[in-house]
């Protein structure tokens, strides 16, 4: 899967959130307002000139190459996040204690506890590199329940729905995020259907369930690794595309059992996923070969199996993953190599794309390293859809599934 690249290391000392008169009104909206203002997408650089909303093609055309990326005056999403959190939490790692800050209220400065925002909570959980987006979302929603002041289950449901919608709107292109939110909302609805004598017992039950879900999801990688490692035997050559922690866990587990195999990683422009994978796999003693994205067909005759992760698994049994997965699967099919997908169950989404453009767009900034003529358009989608007929098996924490079994499992999950 693609990851937003962090472009700057030192956030400037600007204090974004404490400005103007009574800040209590727009405190929570500061981050959202900045995002809307600067049309933020993960990894997407904008410049000071383009302040109004415009589409990605337009921006790519108008902003010259050298002004991008490393211009300190350009505001990127990553930078904003760091600035926001730096100002909020004052450098401390304890995200659970209430954040105190000075606000102006009725002309006087007072110290107040910052009103809880699910986005900030989600952001805090997201910082953990081991945690997937969907798990962070579920933990954030569990925190919403903890701090909820609702007196009925219905009220709690409404609050959670609002929080879930806010999270989804915050990053519309992330499938696992919305799938995780939907999954948790489903539990809430089912649980609230069972009458509880008091709201506290119901809340306690939901919190326990949410945390248990988080535990299952964290163990999911281990389960998938155990299930999939038998498919790697001595002498196998595995091709992988994109950066997936599940795939890394699987390969490391197989290597720790003393199996002799080697891995071919695609370069993975523009995120350098190949180099990232190599950095993880080499310490485990796995020989890694790097190849250009265009070299997959060239290598395919030496490959025994293709193993990829997934951003999302859709109802048809196909997957949505980093750009280039579809063509890898096509080549593998053509040369009769099996394609295996390692994906956790919370990535199962209620989507059914009919073609490549049938998904919510996820544009990604691509650096072509040479100046382009003005009228050249850039097709910069970050991901593609691989139909189920090109996939052999899916390794999930619900067991090994054929693509046709996915929709059955989805129905079970969402029943």
């Amino acid at each position: 899967m693609y990851r937003p690249s962090s472009l700057l290391s030192n956030p400037p000392n600007q204090d974004f959130s404490l400005r103007g008169g009574s800040d209590e009104d727009n405190l929570d909206n500061s981050l959202e307002a900045e995002r809307r203002y600067f049309k933020l997408r993960p990894g997407f650089a904008t410049s000071d000139q383009t302040m109004e909303l415009c589409n990605p093609y337009h921006e790519d055309r108008n902003v010259s190459q050298d002004e991008r990326d490393f211009n300190p005056s350009s505001v990127t999403f990553e930078w904003l996040r760091q600035a926001e959190s730096a100002s909020l939490y004052g450098g401390s790692e304890d995200y659970t204690r209430p954040v105190l800050h000075h606000v102006r209220s009725w002309g006087r400065e007072v110290v107040r506890e910052k009103p809880f925002s699910v986005i900030h909570e989600f952001d805090a959980w997201r910082k953990n590199p081991e945690l997937a987006e969907a798990v962070a979302a579920i933990k954030a929603l569990t925190a919403v329940i903890k701090r909820s002041g609702a007196s009925t289950m219905m009220g709690l449901e409404v609050e959670l729905k609002e929080a879930s919608d806010a999270l989804k709107a915050w990053d519309e292109s992330s499938i696992s995020l919305s799938a995780g939110c939907d999954l948790f909302m489903r539990y809430v609805t089912r649980t609230s259907a069972i009458e509880y004598e008091d709201i506290e017992a119901g809340k306690a039950r939901l919190i326990e369930r949410g945390e248990k879900f988080g535990d299952i999801s964290q163990k999911a990688r281990r389960t998938i690794a155990e299930l999939g490692k038998d498919f790697i035997v001595n002498g196998t050559t595995v091709l992988t595309h994109g950066y997936s922690r599940v795939v890394i866990a699987l390969l490391k587990l197989a290597a720790s059992e003393g199996k002799d195999f080697n891995v071919v990683c695609t370069e993975g422009r523009p995120d350098n996923t190949g180099a990232e994978m190599a950095k993880e796999l080499v310490p485990a003693g796995i020989p890694v070969t790097l190849v250009l994205d265009a070299g997959v067909a060239y290598m395919m005759e030496t490959i025994d199996m293709v193993l990829v992760g997934a951003d999302g698994v859709v109802e048809s049994g196909g997957i949505i993953n980093m750009l280039g997965t579809y063509q890898t699967a096509l080549i593998a099919r053509s040369l009769k190599k099996p394609v295996y997908v390692a994906a956790e169950s919370y990535k199962f989404a209620r989507l059914f794309p009919l073609d490549q453009r049938d998904m919510s767009p996820a544009p990604r900034h691509v650096d072509f390293l040479v100046p382009l003529p003005q009228t050249v358009r850039v097709e910069n989608s970050a991901r593609d859809y691989t139909p189920p007929q090109y996939l052999t098996l899916l390794f999930t924490d619900l067991g090994i599934l054929t693509p046709s079994a996915v929709s059955d499992e989805l129905i079970q999950l969402y029943l």
Partner: protein, 406 residues
Amino acid sequence: MVAAMPDYQAAVDDFVTKLRRRQVEGSFNTAKHTAELLRQVVSHQRLPHVGQAAVLIDVVKTVGLRMIAANPIELAVGNIVRRVLHIIREEDVSLTSSALPGVSVESDDDDSDSKSSYSAAAVAAANRSALRAPSLHNLLESIPDPVKAPVAPAVSVADSDSKRSGDRNSVSWKLKHNVIEGITELLQDIDDYHTQVAEQAIEHIHQNEVILTLGRSRSLLKFLLEAKKKRSFQVVIAEGAPRYQGHTLAKELAEKGLQTTVITDSAVFAMISRVNMVIVGAHAVMANGGVLAPVGMHMIALAARRHAAPFVVLAGVHKLCPQYPHNPYTLLNDMKSPAEVVEFGELPECLDVESGDHTTYVVNPTFDYIPPELVSLFITDAGGHNPSYVYRLITEYYSPEDYVLQ
């Protein structure tokens, strides 16, 4: 527990020896033997008042693992063991849910392993049950729970809990009885499966068709004879070297008046353009829809795919294995005596080991693996199905905890 019951022990030992020596072969025979043995085991087992299902499952697993280890390639043994385990779990669920009226109970929670080592498949099964609709049991019990310590129930179920334990005493014999009934039904299904499969013959074989097959299959014989009652067609039989069972099938069909042609295996590609349909039997069907069939079948499947002839596989449900083939071309094969291919003493120079220079290896594999893309249809005693539907049949007949037996 097993040593205390000598009644069936001798029978189990005898069966295990026969399996190891390949004296009992073929999915039909082994499946029947296994089911009968397990029924004996269950009926002789003395059960405590509480936790009966767990005890039964334990015993069946122990005996089953011995039988599977004797001949790992005979997948029907493992299939029947898993079917019996599934029957035990289902009967337990239905008994407990009838004791607790109006509550839907998840079967997986009562009978989870008491052992703390969890295979990935067991965790996957626990995840499946955890992610299903939260039932009363799911809400109260943590997943996975190695030691089945009873969680203090919430207020609403306290009284039904005591009622349940009271009911357990009165239905203590019911579980065993129901399980034995279930196994008897299973045995009847295995006995009958030829007839069930053959009933569907009329739908698939049309007038004046040419059918191709390889070797001999009992279900195929009945299938063709059933179709012969209402249709006239011809059969081309590839002889199936080195066992030449195609000859036997040809004789049987010719006796009944069916027009048959016998060809060598190498002539299949030459004849395939004149064939309308290929119908074969199978040794086992894997969870992804792949087929283990007598050697030579993969070639027939490729020929059928090349010439767009439907490749139909006849398989009873007892041949359905819930495991995925990790490395099917090498792992799931049995090597038989090379004397069937080349007689001992026929090639003295080549089989001379001492010289070291001239060594010819003679290999006699028994099975072929056919990937699911080459199969058009499975005709089982549960109807006709696509290879992509096999996962559904598996969830019907097996419990996820039993996919990997330990």
